[in-house]
Symmetry: C2
Subunit: 232 residues, 2 copies
């Protein structure tokens, strides 16, 4: 019997790879995309194309307006940092951190998982590239699983054991890209940039673009992305 | 200095009492109301009036369409049970249970709390009247607090200690009502019914109406509610 998994699919490079891994492991994909009024809503188009490519059994695109709370460059009117090197990115929890974002996303995934009887959630968090995001760390994931067992009807009944899969958590961006390429993933369908140009190109200068470009270079894989500027 | 608290304010009897308690303890109220496409959306009007009465410093009414996942009589097209006695209600996890609802709500409250620097969240969960809801139990609340410390920038930095206050968790409905009355709360502003009549009356027959009506009777307090039928 095929097992079902809820996969958080933002449309980015990491979540797309994560979905490809879940698919390769034999899961039926229930793709959950959160429209949180992020600056880079263009990634939602990528999520739709990817859900189609993965033959998702279900795709829920859920508006949850986290900008109602403010507090992040991704949702509030705060400038996205540009042109930082990787030491600067690693230095502190970045301003693009959205408070409790992954907690909210995993909670929503948990609700859907309980409804469809899925015991598996996939999320493409990464503890290396985004070392400053608290909700991308293994300690957070384990604490979420423990909470989920207390939170749900099936967990309390003991008929269910939730696992949050984080196959990319220790991978470099280059390793992630190599994994996806080996699984036949077309990265031209994915979106990374935090601050797209009006023409719909990747800006090439924000942290996400820099990590993406560097990832393809390090992986030795041709980068299918259209950037608005050359590498600096 | 006044402390800020995020209070989950549905518009119901319990959350209104919870907000009254937070206010009496000296907190500035940041009221968070989730429009989850619940059948009883009429409670949102109550939440607005209550936020005003409590002089909330902020009131966010956030649409999060949990009916996208289905699975509950409160959000999907499943009949709300009527005319059950309290033994029947206590018998099992009720069909009005919304999967992972309180997890989602607390996660959103957590995001707002982190943005405004609040260390306190109030939620009017009750382990007695709704003994079948897994996410109304102290074990769940403690697991959520532990997760929250791992989930957030301030938690990981150790500059923050989140407390989820559940002042009603061990109270009977009658005790809750007595508490609110002592604090001057006008329960005529609150809404409980899962299945309001087209005229906007409480149906008087669903589990929530039965618990409400019984609570006022047990408390010996006049019930300000307009029900569509007499007690059976």
């Amino acid at each position: 019997m095929t097992k079902a998994a809820v996969v958080l699919l933002s449309g980015g490079l990491d979540s797309a790879t994560c979905a490809a891994i879940a698919k390769a492991e034999g899961y039926d994909i229930y793709a959950l995309t959160i429209n949180y009024n992020q600056r880079n809503r263009i990634e939602l188009n990528s999520a739709r194309k990817l859900a189609d490519v993965f033959g998702a059994k279900g795709h829920v695109e859920l508006p949850v307006n986290l900008s109602a709370f403010g507090g992040s460059a991704l949702t509030a009117d705060i400038a996205v940092p540009k042109g930082r090197n990787e030491d600067e990115m690693a230095d502190e929890i970045p301003i693009t951190y959205v408070p409790a974002r992954n907690t909210v996303f995993l909670s929503l995934a948990l609700g859907w998982a309980e409804v469809i009887g899925a015991e598996d959630i996939f999320i493409g968090v990464n503890a290396l590239d985004y070392s400053g995001y608290p909700d991308c760390r293994p300690d957070f994931i384990r604490a979420f699983e423990a909470m989920a067992m207390q939170a749900t009807k099936r967990g309390v009944e003991g008929t269910w054991k939730l696992t949050v899969h984080t196959p990319l958590i220790e991978k470099t961006k280059a390793d992630t890209i190599k994994t996806g390429v080996a699984l036949g993933l077309d990265y031209g369908l994915t979106w990374s940039c935090y601050d797209p140009t009006p023409e719909g190109l990747h800006c090439g200068q924000c942290d996400a673009c820099k990590l993406r470009r560097r990832g393809f270079a390090d992986a030795g894989v041709p980068d299918p992305t259209r950037y608005a500027c050359e590498p600096v």
